[in-house]
Symmetry: C2
Subunit: 176 residues, 2 copies
Amino acid sequence: MTIVILRIGHRPERDQRVTTHVGLTSRALGADGMLLASDDKGVINSLEEVTQRWGGDFFARSVESWKREINNWQSGGGKVVHLTMYGQNLPDVIDEISIEESIMIVVGAEKVPPDVYHKADWNVAVGSQPHSEIAGLAVFLDRLHAKRGLDPLKKEMPGGNLKITPCERGKIVTEV
Amino acid sequence: MTIVILRIGHRPERDQRVTTHVGLTSRALGADGMLLASDDKGVINSLEEVTQRWGGDFFARSVESWKREINNWQSGGGKVVHLTMYGQNLPDVIDEISIEESIMIVVGAEKVPPDVYHKADWNVAVGSQPHSEIAGLAVFLDRLHAKRGLDPLKKEMPGGNLKITPCERGKIVTEV
């Protein structure tokens, strides 16, 4: 399965930290990459640096038009899931989504254009309560993998020069 | 099961948004409340306002000393889980944690004091990759509930004056 995140509505002056969290979450929970519909080299660089140091092949890059990315994705046969508290509840749609092979997950900041709701194959609510888009994405990715019998927390990320060995207390970090 | 979040290391000048996300995530994913080891009325007020408008009985309050809160919790028989990328991997410990009746989840910002690692009954990594504490908490809560046969996304939150009806496209919000 290919999973790409499309982050829209990012405002460089105030969303850097949250969008970086969106990217780190995507990577840690088994997505292949993140497209950022905004020109913000700071976020892209910090995500690339994490992959370089911690391994795996997660990609992050800026794109000019979210609309074009969605259109291209769908033309190629991929499906688009838009995460929104107004959508259908995740437990009700996860079965049908999890059989797809290429999924783009749209994660908006505030004020998502109505077009996104119309273009998306699914508008999905990770619960219909006010929430965090980071948490919503995390639960979505975790449940999506679980439906396919995978656990993203057990995935190895080869390459990189830093590695943590889990332990009961303290910190064990190996630098190669 | 009682689940309380203890947020430590919060710096009012730069963590307001992330800590608010931690609180919203806690509430949306079935925790009972959040203790904030910092004096930040802005965060507390916005979480209380969400509960007032959207229902449920989630509480949020400032506490003076995280150490005292952990000690009190443990004296009363409760267990403490500290979320950290250096800890034991979640899939390896979730079974033993999920049989407990009272769990305090410590969510740190940067630089968690070593004492937290020592006092915690479990140091738990939601994967050993750099991450978002919001995403880590979300996955932890979701899997904890799942182990007990519960789905926090299906939980009703009675009271409040706003309610969303899930739908395929658009937004249906009822105001009472």
